[in-house]
């Protein structure tokens, strides 16, 4: 179950979403508000997606970290589906795609679940990277070989590898995490850290009683800041001063929006420092990094969509939600946030080993 801090973070976000839903509901009723109904409708749909995302995320925290990994596997699977559906492949890619969906994707999340950092951090960039072109070559179709290979590799890296770093936050060894987890932590990290420092286990065990929900909070904090900075980038881009970044990619994204959104995310993230293992300034800095990476992800996925001539991954096949539209920024921000956090914690520990 959840402790007080986790409960206030999760509850706070859900209350915020509820309040936003109420505002949108009123705006939808009133035609004289002077706001474009299309914007209200877009915002309403987004809110629904967020509410669903955060509610499911909160539910998996109650069940446990394995449930979170499975949840992200499902999201990953669906996103990859959308990505490959959009990407033209040839019949010769069929077998390679089969392995991508049914071997690489589940294996990546399985390794994340068993905390094998040494393998899951290279499984797709090295082994899947080599497997895909080899399998396509064996199928014997040389037409636009490099292009096809690159598209599948790109889809796998963005939708599976990058996204898997979000549930990997659940496996990070934070100061004060549960003892059972730290003994099994990070098998492939070169050295068995648990064996190297026997004192740490007991310290963690002592701290664990105080704070078992720290990893769940970190993940929730991360997803919340990504979505928040997305929303605020959109909001700030409606300022009267507009310097559009790349009209051919996204006509609505402005530098003002990005700066405003990133600054807002940093402020909110700093204010939420109590939910994270960071001090205030570090929480703000991390939020800034998340916002910038989220922006990079949205721009990249917009470029792919523009190239393929679709507006949303959701409209590609009518009736589907467009999972990839919602998680593009998470995909880019997750690995960077994970590694920054990991680096920061290692630094903090080496400077002050008793902290």
């Amino acid at each position: 179950m959840m402790d007080l801090k986790t409960l206030s973070l999760v509850g706070g976000v859900l209350v915020l979403l509820g309040a936003a839903a109420a505002v949108v509901h009123v705006l939808k009723r009133r035609t004289d508000s002077g706001i474009d109904p299309a914007i209200v409708e877009t915002f309403r749909l987004r809110l629904r997606a967020w509410a669903l995302l955060f509610a499911v995320l909160a539910a998996t925290f109650v069940i446990g970290s394995a449930a979170t990994v499975v949840l992200f596997w499902a999201i990953s699977f669906w996103a990859l589906r959308e990505f490959i559906t959009l990407t033209p492949t040839r019949p010769g890619d069929h077998r390679a795609l089969f392995w991508v969906f049914f071997l690489c994707t589940p294996l990546q999340f399985f390794l994340v679940g068993m905390r094998w950092y040494g393998l899951y951090s290279i499984l797709i960039p090295v082994y899947a990277f080599l497997l895909i072109p080899a399998r396509i070559a064996i199928a014997g179709d040389a037409k636009r070989f490099l292009e096809r290979t690159a598209k599948i590799q790109c889809g796998l890296l963005i939708c599976v590898y990058c996204l898997s770093y979000a549930p990997a936050l659940m496996t990070l060894r934070l100061p004060g995490r549960p003892a059972e987890a730290s003994t099994a932590a990070e098998i492939g990290d070169g050295v068995m850290l648990g064996a190297q420092a026997p004192g740490r286990v007991s310290r963690s065990a002592a701290a664990a009683a105080a704070d078992p929900g720290q990893n769940a909070r970190l993940l929730f904090f991360f997803v919340f800041i990504v979505q928040l900075s997305d929303a605020f980038q959109y909001a700030w881009s409606h300022l009267p001063v507009r310097h559009v970044i790349a009209p051919a990619i996204s006509p609505t994204r402005t530098w003002e929006g990005v700066l405003g959104g990133a600054a807002t995310a940093a402020l909110v993230g700093g204010a939420l420092w109590w939910a994270t293992p960071f001090p205030v300034w570090m929480a703000a800095l991390m939020s800034l990094v998340i916002a910038v990476m989220g922006f990079a992800g949205s721009m990249t996925m917009s470029a792919i969509k523009r190239d393929r001539g679709v507006r949303d991954y959701g409209t590609l096949v009518a009736g589907h939600g467009g999972v990839l539209d919602r998680i593009d920024s998470i995909c880019f921000a997750a690995p960077v946030f994970f590694h920054c956090t990991r680096f920061y914690l290692n630094m903090a520990e080496s400077i002050n080993p008793l902290a």
Binding site: F77, R81, T89, H94, L97, F98, F101, V317, H320
Partner: protein, 222 residues
Amino acid sequence: MKRLAFPPPVEVQVPRGALTERVAGAGLALIAKLISGFSVRWFDCVPDTCQRVYFANHTSHLDAIVIWAALPSEVRHLSRPVAAKDYWEAGAVRRYLANKVFNALLIDRKRIKVHQSPVDLMLREIGHTHSLIVFPEGSRNPGPEVGPFKSGLYYLCKKRPDLECIPVYLDNMNRILPRGEVLPVPLLSSITFGPPIWLERDEPKAEFLHRARQAILRLREI
């Protein structure tokens, strides 16, 4: 266009089969939905239990199952896919699925006799209650193109001009389970049901088949 007069439809209660088969049917429909990730669109057409001939482009072994699975359950159990006997009689699982679960009408492609023409067999089997799911191209296309139609659809309609012919366009199914593959890749696809067409009085065969093919191609643009 004047439609010919026909006896009014008779309300017949069709037994829905044993519980295990119904559960297996619902399960199969769900699996088909999960694997092919299809979304269904009804364009100028609504699901109905009246007798219909759903005719679709054919690119995958999944085609018959996904159209069947895309129909609402009260229409589904009245609709029988027409499928190749040599494929669906091979192996116990396929035979069970074809005969018991989605109630396929299996046609022997190798031995077609004058007295036992597939069209007569289909008409006899559907009676005045069932609908058919057919693929007028005859066999699966390797790519997304729609090939020329064989004449079966025409003869079917000539003998029963009261049947509503519903064009169905299947998109992306050829990438999910292409010709010659056993294992599916779970991409997303869509199934579009279009407005019905009928065989008009004295309409030549070639003209009707062309019109039917165009009805499917039009759904591609929507």
